[in-house]
Amino acid sequence: MSQPTEFNIDHVAQLARLALTPTEKAQFAQQLGDVLHHIEQLGKVDVSSVEPAAHAFAVYNVWADDIPQPGLTVDAALQNAPAQRDHMIVVPKVVE
C-alpha cells in the first residue's frame, strides 16, 4: 500500500483542474490524509486470487444496432452554452 504522505495536493488539483485556495489545500490535505490513513487497512486484505469487479453484475455484449435516431436541434444543443457564435461554442483560444 502506498504511503499517503506522498499525497501531493498541488499535483492532484492540477490534474483535476481545480483552482484551490491555500486554505482549501491545507484543509483537504489534512482531511484526505485522514481518509487515506483509514484506507490503508485495505492493504491487509488478501486479494491475491480475486478478480476485480468493475460492475455489480457482469453482463457482456450490450449494444444497439447501427440505426440512426434523431438527436438534438442546434438550439437545444446550445441552449445552456455560456458563450456561442455561429452555432458553435466559444472558448478562449486553444494553443495546442
Binding site: 444497439a64 438527436g71 461554442i89 495546442e96
Partner: protein, 478 residues
C-alpha cells in the same frame, strides 16, 4: 526507427456510443444528442456495427481477436472532448498483433519492389472528438465529429524511412477501403496519422529517444514530416546535442515542426474501466461470420494477377489498388479471354477517360461486357486499333455496344476480298526478294517487311490477321 499511430474513422450510420447520425460537412452542432455533448445524465451504448468493423479490420490484418475486450476511460481535459474523458481501450484492446504488408518502390517503374510485413502492436476502438476552429482571439467548437467510431492502429517501431511509412499508409488505407471499413479520405479526417521517430546511429543496438510527431494529415505530409524529423534529429546529434523525449507538431505548409510538450508535461490519463459500458465477448462464430465477408487484399491479388493472367507488373500494380477496378478487370478478362489486352484498355484508356470526365468507375457507361466485346473485335481483326480507340471514346460517351458503333460509323476493317488481297501479297513478296530470302532462311520476323506495302495497297483497311495468314500461305508455297 519509425512507428505509426493511425486513426481510422469507421464508416457507420450512427455514432459509436449513441445513435445520432454521423456525417461530414453538416452545419455545426447538428449531429449531437445528450450523449455526444456529455450532458448530465447521458449514458453510452455501443454500436454493434463499429465492433463488427473493428473485428473485420483485425481479421484482414491477421490480428489476434481478443476473446474479451473492455472499455476504459482516458481522462484529460480538452475542449474538443465533451466529457473530458475519452472512451477508449487501454489494456484489453479488441485486436492484438497482426501486420500490414507493404511494397517498396522497385528499381524501375516496371519492376516490382521488395515486399515486407510491418508488425502491428494492436488495434483499439474509441470515440472521435469534436472539431476546434481557431480564430484570432478565440476558438469555436463543433461537436458533429465527436463520437464517430475511431480505430487506432498502432504499428511496432519497425519502419526505417519515410518511404516505408508511405508504403505502410498506402497499403493500410487500401486495406481499410477494401474491407468497407472506412473511406479513409484524409481531407475529411477519416484517416489521421501520428509518428513516433527515434534514430539509432550505426553500430548502436538500443533505440534512441522517441519523439512523437503529430498532425501528419495528408500522405505527403507523412513523408515530408518524417523525413524532416529524421534530418532534425541527425542535426541535433551532429551538433553534439541530445534528443529530448517530446511531442512535436508538424506544419505541412512550412515543412517545419515545433515542440508541443516535453515528457515532464506528459499526461496522466488515469485510465480505469468505464463503469457505464459492459465488456465484449467475441466468440469464434462471430469471427467466422465476419471472416466470410473479408475480401482478398491488394497484394495477394497482385500476386494472383501476375501469375494467373500473366499480365505485366505495370498493369497489375495499377489494377489492384481499387477493389472495383480489379473486379472490373477480372470480369472483362473472363468475358474476352484476353487479360493483357483488357488490362491495357482499362489502365490506359478507361482510367484516362474517367479522369478526364471526373466520373467514378461505377458511373461509367462502359461495362466489362462492352470492353470485352471491343477487345474481341480488335483481336479478331474485325476492327483495327486506331478505329478501336475511336469506338472506345464513342462508347464511353454513349454506352452503346462497340459492335453497333463500328457498324454505324464504318469503322470495321475492310471485308475480306481474298482475290485482291492475295494479289497485293504476291506483289509485296515479289518486290522484296531480300526479305523472302531471309524468311526462307528461318527469320520469321522478315514477314513484317511485306505487311507495310500490303496495308498501303489496302489503304489501311485490311484485316491484319488475314494479311498475315495470306502471306504465310503464299510464302509456304514458294
Amino acid at each position: 526507427m519509425i512507428g505509426l499511430e493511425v486513426h481510422v474513422q469507421i464508416k457507420t450510420c450512427s455514432k459509436v456510443f449513441t445513435r445520432v447520425a454521423t456525417g461530414y460537412g453538416e452545419p455545426p452542432n447538428t449531429l449531437t444528442d445528450p450523449v455526444v455533448l456529455g450532458l448530465p445524465g447521458a449514458l453510452p451504448v455501443m454500436n454493434k456495427a463499429a465492433l463488427d468493423a473493428s473485428i473485420k479490420a483485425g481479421l484482414l490484418l491477421g490480428c489476434e481477436i481478443a476473446p474479451v475486450c473492455k472499455w476504459d476511460r482516458k481522462n484529460y481535459f480538452y475542449p474538443d472532448s465533451p466529457k473530458n474523458y475519452q472512451i477508449s481501450q487501454y489494456d484489453q484492446p479488441i485486436c492484438l498483433g497482426g501486420s500490414v504488408e507493404i511494397e517498396l518502390p522497385g528499381a524501375a517503374r516496371n519492376l516490382m519492389g521488395e515486399h515486407r510485413q510491418v508488425a502491428l502492436t494492436r488495434i483499439h476502438l474509441e470515440e472521435d472528438v469534436g472539431k476546434l476552429n481557431h480564430g484570432a482571439t478565440d476558438s469555436l467548437i463543433d461537436f458533429n465529429r465527436a463520437g464517430t467510431p475511431l480505430m487506432e492502429i498502432v504499428s511496432e517501431p519497425v519502419m526505417h524511412s519515410a518511404e516505408e511509412a508511405f508504403a505502410y499508409l498506402t497499403s493500410l488505407r487500401a486495406t481499410m477501403i477494401y474491407g468497407g471499413i472506412s473511406d479513409c479520405d484524409m481531407e475529411k479526417g477519416q484517416l489521421r496519422c501520428d509518428a513516433n521517430i527515434s534514430i539509432r546511429p550505426v553500430g548502436q543496438t538500443t533505440l534512441g529517444t522517441k519523439v512523437e510527431l503529430k498532425n501528419l494529415n495528408s500522405i505527403s505530409y507523412v513523408s515530408a514530416g518524417i523525413a524532416h524529423e529524421i534530418k532534425r534529429q541527425i542535426g541535433v546529434l551532429e551538433r553534439g546535442g541530445t534528443i529530448v523525449q517530446e511531442t512535436r507538431d508538424f506544419d505541412g505548409t512550412t515543412g517545419t515542426s515545433q515542440s508541443l510538450r516535453s515528457k515532464e508535461m506528459a499526461h496522466d490519463y488515469r485510465y480505469f474501466p468505464d463503469p457505464d459500458l459492459m465488456p465484449v465477448k467475441i466468440d469464434a462464430s462471430w469471427q467466422d461470420r465476419l471472416r466470410a465477408d473479408c475480401p482478398e487484399l491488394p497484394f495477394p491479388k497482385q500476386r494472383r494477377f501476375l501469375e494467373r493472367y500473366q499480365i505485366p507488373f505495370t498493369l497489375a500494380s495499377v489494377l489492384i489498388w481499387d477493389r472495383g477496378l480489379a473486379d472490373y478487370f477480372e470480369e472483362t478478362a473472363r468475358l474476352c479471354g484476353k487479360p493483357q489486352m483488357a488490362g491495357n484498355w482499362i489502365v490506359n484508356d478507361l482510367l484516362r477517360e474517367l479522369g478526364a470526365s471526373g466520373q467514378t468507375l461505377a458511373q461509367s457507361k462502359v461495362r466489362p461486357s462492352h470492353l470485352a466485346a471491343l477487345v474481341q473485335l480488335v483481336d479478331s481483326g474485325a476492327v483495327l486499333t486506331n478505329a478501336a480507340k475511336e469506338i472506345f471514346i464513342a462508347m464511353f460517351a454513349s454506352g452503346e455496344t462497340p459492335g453497333a458503333i463500328a457498324e454505324r460509323s464504318g469503322l470495321k476493317a475492310a471485308p475480306a476480298d481474298t482475290g485482291e488481297l492475295e494479289q497485293w501479297c504476291r506483289d509485296a513478296i515479289t518486290a522484296s526478294p531480300k526479305a523472302l530470302a531471309e524468311f526462307k532462311a528461318g527469320k520469321d520476323s522478315a514477314i513484317n517487311a511485306f505487311k507495310g506495302p500490303v496495308m498501303k495497297a489496302a489503304k489501311g483497311k485490311a484485316n491484319p490477321k488475314l494479311v498475315d495468314e495470306t502471306l504465310r500461305r503464299l510464302l509456304a508455297q514458294m
